[in-house]
Structures are given as structure tokens and as C-alpha cells.
Subunit: 315 residues, 4 copies
Amino acid sequence: MAQLTPRLARLGHVALRTPDVAGSVAFFENMIGLEVAAASDEAAFLRAWEDHEHHTLMLCASAETGVDHVGWRTVTPGDVDAFADLLIAEGIEIQEVPAGTELGQGRAIRFQTPSGFTYEIYYDVEKVAPGGSRLKTNTARAWARGISPRRIDHVNLSTTRVLAEKTWSEQMLGFHTREFVSLAPDALGAAWLGVSALAHDLALTTELGDAHRGLHHVAYFVDSASDVLRAADIVAEAGLVVDHGPGRHAISQAVCLYVRDPASGHRVEIYSGAYLVLDPDWEPIEWTIEEYGQWWGAEVDRTSATTSMGQTTPW
Amino acid sequence: MAQLTPRLARLGHVALRTPDVAGSVAFFENMIGLEVAAASDEAAFLRAWEDHEHHTLMLCASAETGVDHVGWRTVTPGDVDAFADLLIAEGIEIQEVPAGTELGQGRAIRFQTPSGFTYEIYYDVEKVAPGGSRLKTNTARAWARGISPRRIDHVNLSTTRVLAEKTWSEQMLGFHTREFVSLAPDALGAAWLGVSALAHDLALTTELGDAHRGLHHVAYFVDSASDVLRAADIVAEAGLVVDHGPGRHAISQAVCLYVRDPASGHRVEIYSGAYLVLDPDWEPIEWTIEEYGQWWGAEVDRTSATTSMGQTTPW
Amino acid sequence: MAQLTPRLARLGHVALRTPDVAGSVAFFENMIGLEVAAASDEAAFLRAWEDHEHHTLMLCASAETGVDHVGWRTVTPGDVDAFADLLIAEGIEIQEVPAGTELGQGRAIRFQTPSGFTYEIYYDVEKVAPGGSRLKTNTARAWARGISPRRIDHVNLSTTRVLAEKTWSEQMLGFHTREFVSLAPDALGAAWLGVSALAHDLALTTELGDAHRGLHHVAYFVDSASDVLRAADIVAEAGLVVDHGPGRHAISQAVCLYVRDPASGHRVEIYSGAYLVLDPDWEPIEWTIEEYGQWWGAEVDRTSATTSMGQTTPW
Amino acid sequence: MAQLTPRLARLGHVALRTPDVAGSVAFFENMIGLEVAAASDEAAFLRAWEDHEHHTLMLCASAETGVDHVGWRTVTPGDVDAFADLLIAEGIEIQEVPAGTELGQGRAIRFQTPSGFTYEIYYDVEKVAPGGSRLKTNTARAWARGISPRRIDHVNLSTTRVLAEKTWSEQMLGFHTREFVSLAPDALGAAWLGVSALAHDLALTTELGDAHRGLHHVAYFVDSASDVLRAADIVAEAGLVVDHGPGRHAISQAVCLYVRDPASGHRVEIYSGAYLVLDPDWEPIEWTIEEYGQWWGAEVDRTSATTSMGQTTPW
């Protein structure tokens, strides 16, 4: 019965590996404008000014860059065990993560997706105490530094196995597909999936070659297209290369700008203007590879995830 | 069991009475910039360019202005009967509305709330066929005329009984309270409630005097604060009075502008920038009457719903 | 003596040839959102909502597309004769244009620039009567249709002889160079020149090949970068190709979008955010070809003026 | 002969007295976001990121708040002596200000206007060396801190003698009146005057009572109405009171926000969207007191200049 299925509420956080935690913190704190909840040589925890959880971005010291894990928060506390039961029943190995293992977070479970991404499912988390802003619903002051996004939005993961990953995400985790790009029968170029009202919480993008997984980007939301352009000003003035954009995606209708953390190579999207999915009967929208593209503006470079070996995608 | 409770997905539409359907259509089509799905001397049906249902605004010919009914769409088809059962069990009279009674809408149920508002609950509705825009997720072209909002957002109803209406909405319809203004113990000045991820789908505002119910406003969403200011330009150029705004509400953080339909007196809010409720554990936020106010900008006139007898509210 | 030198006040209008006046009017009226002052099969006259002259754009029926002439308005009535004297003294042939020859315009003089552009210098012109807007300083309502720019800004002309044209414009017409791109000693790729406080009223862009003159673009100003993006939405929804942009030029700092009139091929820039030259001692700024580029955003196609034979520029 | 009349090019700087230089610097540097060129206990010198002169704002230690002087820059070096001659011929006392008296500034002359404002006229000034920004035409990085305006725009002075001050400014200094509010025959409520292409460089606002002069506000320009709203966010988050706005003035069409320096009480306007005066034949526009008002948005408090004794203006 559908109602008894456990449900994910939202993307909680993305944990990224970086060979230079301090350098990545400098980028995400000063350029992107996130708040640092805690930072050490080993790890740092950051959030935006409307994020209510302890962190929405974790930076982990590692010789190699890449995605450490993606954290998904459930609708109810009981959903964590319910997901564990479901996954175990499918033969998937579950790792228990005791409360406190990750700073600010309660007990969680971890497991691997078909593409080899490590996902974390949890409900208990430290909420930010009020007082960071005069606005009761904010956890820090807006416009304090840099681009100053409002909240985390979504994660986009690159994989060689988009279709398999999409199907599994729907069946095991309850994601709904919002839009997808078909390359051929039984071949997807990309898919955008959601559990919340956001246009998507998770995107899957084709990655060619041996590297079968990586981060395409993590997206933080700003209020308006003006703010995306202001981000472009900030990025250009800092001498960083705009990875691509600004432009408006035909998919999601979002206005976007991409920039990479110089310390890790991870790509961040500054994002605004996507639709919301408030209707209960959204039908997945298909785009052929011919139709697919930017609504306007600079094309996004789809050639490489952080862990890419340099191959380009066919589209 | 929580999961078995029927759920509302979203505000579907607001039906407003007007003594001048053609005049109100002219305002909502040309000034606000909605699309007319159908119109006759008796009724008109309009929607915004990202609304997917047949209509989100109905205008009904009537000697007196006022709210005819508010339509709420459920998450599943079965939720309609489940709500009917719940309401009947509480002794509330249910009226069956056969499919087609309201243009573009399937079978629905109607009933009165404690304040006397007529609510309609339905799932089946005619979705707009694709093709109205080159963007697959839009149902009409943006920027075709006037203010050109993207989608309906919420309804704000005035009542003399905010607390009772709020409690009933939570218990019977599953609304969650996001923020509220307390006047005294057991007295609320206003409350903002949601069923979707929007900051609120329903607001309740104190109305004094004999008139115990009416429309405070119906809100349509635009993408940015810039668009709210563009709306102010359009309203001022047309010689209409900006009812209040632009300003940013402390509650919801939305940037707002209010303007009235000259033909009916109904107030429309042009609205952008509110937070989303993506967290599963949002705690209602209390504001005292002393704390309450605009974050910045012109104060909103809270003196009167459409059906007001002219009394002013105490705040 | 410098003070006695005649002075140009501003760009008055650009007159473009089009094989399809009605088609070009449809584009400039409905898509760009200009007001039509007058139109016939032979010619049409348009202006933006803050343009005070009878027209800032003239469309002339012609078998071939191209620039018919560019009109420059002087600071004083006497400046017209003073310019005539100066030009005649240099051996330049002057053509008298009696009042009324061009609709809404008084007496003017015409002549050829070194690149072969026809310039018109005039002072007397019909000013638009008040009443077109509730704002006393506007001549029409803003946001009435389409992109709805505020006023003409500048003209960008392509020529094979940028350096000669620039020097002549400075010496004979009193233009001041604001910025320029140097290709080599004694070779310019482009130059931006002004007579008013605008970042530039005239730009000169290299055009290769036999075609030694043409329109690169005529620019209309919108208030903000948001409005440039709104223009991109309108252009994309109409199925027109964004010729390039949105982006921010390093030169002028303007945010730009380029779109072509389908009927004539003429390119229009939607433009905002340039600096003003209020200082009396602006020094021309040199960019090498290596430095030159967009500050951010899609590169502008510099390959072709309207009359181009298809050769590409070297930069 | 008109061409031989000396000319002012632009507003150069405003020098304000403050009882707390450090406190005022903190406000203008951190909240407004200006760059500090130099600061001591006695005086501080600031500028915006596109200001090219050494400073556009001077803060002078003084027991009493108020306007110290207003600096106007001429079109040519010779204009300074020409103005001195003109003023002396009218019996106005001229004070020589040797180069270096004011940091970063060459030789100047000072004198009193009919209302008793001290004006400074100069040409020689230290221009900011390039290198403060990657954009060659900027002198510092945009978006570094706080509101981050682009450049100084205008000064608005309060006086009991608007008409006399306006007439004198036109006759002696070459100002042109752009718009004015008439209270009665021979009585002006306010006037807006320009020497550059800006809608106004100088505004004069009626001040009642014994205090016959003071600062209404100094205005700094931001690129868009969005940036004005961002300024409102920053001001509100800091717990400062928005003195008035945001709104759009009918006069100048500018979108505005007013905030006061807590240390001195001086009012700053964050300003965008005014028209430019590019036409050589602008006719002054009259507004009656009945017509006058905001185009939309919160009314501006016109009750008091910094040195006001608390009387309110009649409009």
C-alpha cells in the first residue's frame, strides 16, 4: 500500500572529498557565501542562510576528490528503519552510522546505489538554533559575504548507468521522474527526479568511460535571476572561470551559473527560477536529444564530472 | 494512523463572486495577465501560464461580491471519499458536486468551514493540453500581457474566528501551521497554514464586526522581486491604486504588492520570494502583535475583506 | 577655440533598409515593443517609451537591407550650420535635407563618412506631445508589449576601416573615444566613442572583405539585467534565435542580448548596466585582442554586419 | 556668449560633519559598502567602486552634524577661474583653497550660496589608480561589502529658500531645472536641477523654521531596483530603520530607499532607475502639490534635514 511506503522528505546534504579542506572552505565560505558550522583539518560543515539543518555541505579531507556521500532526510523517524528493511529485503548491504559519527547528525544508515554512490538516510539531525538573523525563519544573515545563496537545492550525479540508477531510485527510494532525455530506446542521457516539491532533488547525468560515478554539481538556490547574474559578477571579479552560464535551462526552467571550487574541482550551480511540483499527478516529460538544450544562454559543459577521466559525453 | 489520513495536495482554485464578470475578466486578463480558459456572462475561468489545471480562478456573476468557494485538490483520487467520511463523521454536511458542474472539473464535495467558507475538495480535473508554450512545462506563454504571474500561490481569508478556523483546518483537513500572530492567550490575529511545500496555501486574517467572512486576497506568484516592482509600474500606469506594498513581509519573507479588481473590489497579491517548507519538522513560529509587521516597505492595509462592513482590525 | 566647436548632443535615430517594412514593423512593435509613430508601405517610424523625438528608428523599404543613414542631433540649432561649414572646409560634400523630408524632422544636412556611412545632422525635430503616459517624463506606457525598452542607446557600425573612421569621427564630429581594441600598431579591432554621457553613442567594429560597411547592431536600453533576461524569455518563446548573450561585456560593463529582425536580418541589442561618463577627463582605455572578451556569459557573434559577405572577423 | 560660460561637469563630493567619524565610517564602509580612501580621527574620505575621484564622500569631525561643503567639478581647468570671476563680479566672497588642503584634491575655490551652503569648485583632483578591479573601468571590486553602490549620484539640500536658491544656481552656476513642485505663485516646494546628463545632480527641498539649511540626503546609485530591495534587506537585517521606501518617485522615476547613518543622522538614498537627460532641449516639468507624490511605494519622509529643528514641511 502506497501510504505505508517510507518516504524521503528532501536532500539533506552532500559530502564532498577534497584534497584541500581549508582551500575548499575558503571558496565555499567567501565566494559562495555559506556559513561554516564547524571546520577542522579533516572535515568542514557548511550551510546556507535558510538551511535549518546543521549542515548541507560537508567537505572531507581525501587524497582524491569525489563524492563521499549524499544524505537524504526522511519524512518521519520511522522511515529510516522502514527504508533499511526494504533495502535489506532487496539484498542491499546496510551500514549503521551511529549518532554523532557525522557532526550534528543522529543515527543514519548508509548503502551503495547501483552506480556505486554512497547514500545516507537519516531523520535525526541537529537543527540550527534561532538567533542568527532578525528574521525568525532564517538561520543566518543574508548577503553577509559573496554570492550568499538561500538554501541547498539539489545534487546532480554523473554515472555511466543513468537508466538503471533512475529506475532503482524510483523503485527503492520513491523518487518521481520529472523530466528525462532519451538517447535511444532503453538509453537515457539524463534524468531529473524528485521527492519534494522542488523541480528535482536529484539529477542523473551520463558519464562516459571507466569513471562510472562522480559529482556533476551541487546546486544552491538564490532568489532571482538577478542574483545569478550578481554571482557571475562576483565569480568574474575573483578571476574564476564561469564554468558555464548564465542561461536558462529548458529543463526545470531554472536560470543557472556554474563555477568550480579551485581547491577541489567540484562544480557548484547557482540556481533560481525552476518550477515547483505542487500537482499530485505530474507526468514525466520526455526530451529527445535533438530537442534538448538551453532555453537561452551559454550552454552548460556536460563533459565531465569531478572524477571524470576526460571523456566527453555525446550530447 | 497518520499515513492513512487523506491529504490535500494544494490550493486548486478560488471562485470569487463579482457583480461584473466582464469587468473582472478585463482586469484579470489584461492587468494581471491571466489566460481565459472560458468566459460567459455567468462565469469565467482563468489560469496563469504555469497553472496546469483548467482554471485557478473562477469568477461568478453575483449581485454581491464575495468568496463563492475555495477548491482544494487531494493527493490521490481516494482522498476525496476519505475526506467525505471524516467530515460526515464530525457531523458536517457534505454536498456532492457532480463532474462537469464546474467547467473543467470532475466530481467534488462541498461543505462549510466553521467560519462559513465554502470549500470544495476534488481530485479529478481537466489538465491543460500541452502546446501553449514552447516550454514543455508551461501551459501558456509568459509575458504575453500585463503582470503575467507564473501560478496561483495561496488564498488569504478574513474571519472573525481565526483560532477556531485554524484548529479545525489542522484537525479536519491536515493543514500545518507555519506562522501565527498571537493577540492574547486564546486569541489569534492571523495564521498561515500549509498542505504543500509553499510557505502557506491558506492564510487566515482577523476580520472584525458582523461580516464574519470574506476574501483578504488571492495571491499569484511571480519569479522575482523585480517582477513585483514591474507589477507596481503596470498598476500605477493604469491609474489603479496600489492597495499596499511593495514590501517584504516578515512572515513568509515574501515580497508583495496588492491591487484590487475595480469591478469587484477583490484584492490580488503579486507575490514572490517566500521560503519553502521542505523540512518535515517545521515548528509553528509565533509572533506577538508587537513584533509583527513588514520586514521593510509599505504596510499592508489589513482593514477590510471584500465583504467588510468597513470596520478596521486592531492591528 | 574648443568652446566654439559645434557639438553633437546624442544619437537621434537610425534608419535601416528592409525588404519588408511590414514584417520589420511587426518585429520592432510586437517583439521589441516600440511604439509606431507612423507607418506606410515605404517607411515606418518608431520610438521607445522614453524617447522624446518623433522617432529613434526609421525603417525604409529597399530591395537590399542595410543602413540608410544615422541621425545625430546637435546641442544647439546653430551647430548644424557650424558642422556644415567644418565639413565643407574639409572638402566633404554636404546634402541639404529640407524640413519634412523625413517625417517629424526639421532641416538637416547629410554627408558620407570615410567608410561610406550616411550621417544626418539636425537640431529641429518634432517632440512627442505629453499624454502618452501618466508619468510626465514618458512619451508612452512602459510594459505595453514585448521587451519594452526605455530608450535608444547607441549604434554599432561595421567597417573595414575602424581606425580611419574613429580618427575622423573625433576630429570632425567631436566624438571622444572611451575604449578600443588594438590588433596591432595602427590597427584597431573596434572602438567605442561618445558625444553624450553614455558609455558610447557610436561603436565601430571591424568588418572584413569587400563589404566595407553595415550595421552591427542598434541598441535599445532596458532598466536592468533582469529586463535583459526577460527579453531572452520573450525571444526564446517566440522561436527566434538569440543571436548571442545574455552576457556582460567587459567593455562598457553592459549586460546584453542580441536578436535579429527576421524580416531584415538587422541585429538589435537589448542593453543595460553600462557605465556613464560624467568625468570631464575620461582617458581612452586600451584592450589588446588577448584581453578582449565577455566579462561573463555567451560570446557575441562578431562575424557579420547585415551587409556582410560572410567573412569572419579575426577576433 | 553661452559657449564661453564656465561649466560644471558634475557633483564631485559631499562633505558631511559628524560627531563620530569612526562610527560614520563604519556605517558607510560596512553597511553602504563604500571604499575608504583614507581615515583619521579628524576626517575620512570614501568612494564607491565606480567613482574615479579620490573621494565622493568626506566625513569631517564636528561637534554638530551638518553639511560641511559640496564639491562641484568643472568641465575644464580654466572653468575654476572663470567661475571665480563671475562670482566676484556679483559681489560674492571667494575663498581660495590651496591644493592639498583637502586630501586628494587640487586647488579649489569656496563660497556661500544664498541659503548659506558652502560650495567648492575645482578641477584638479587625484584620480584613482587602476588595479582595484579586474574590470578596467572600475576602481574597486563590486559586491565586496554591504549595499555596494556603483557611484555617487546627487545631493539633496534642504533650505527655507528653494526658489531663490534655484534661480541663483541657474544664473551663477549654470544648472538646468528638470522638474519642480509649485506650492503657489512664487513659491516652490522643491526643485531638481542638473549640470550633467543625470536626472538631477542637485535637489532643493523646502525646510521650514529657523534652521535654514541642511542635508536632505546624499544619493548613491545602484544598477537596478533589485539592488535597492537587496539594500532594504541589508538595512532591515542590521536593525536599522528604513527611513522610507522602497518606492518609485514620480519625479525622476527613480526607485529609492532611504536610510540614516546612526552615528550622524545623515540620510543616504540608495537610488536606481532615473531617466537621463540626453536631449539638449529639456523643458522644466511642473508638478502642483496635489499632483506630487510617489509613483508607487512608501512615501518619503520630507520632514527634516539633518539640522532640522523638528518642524515638518507642509507636503
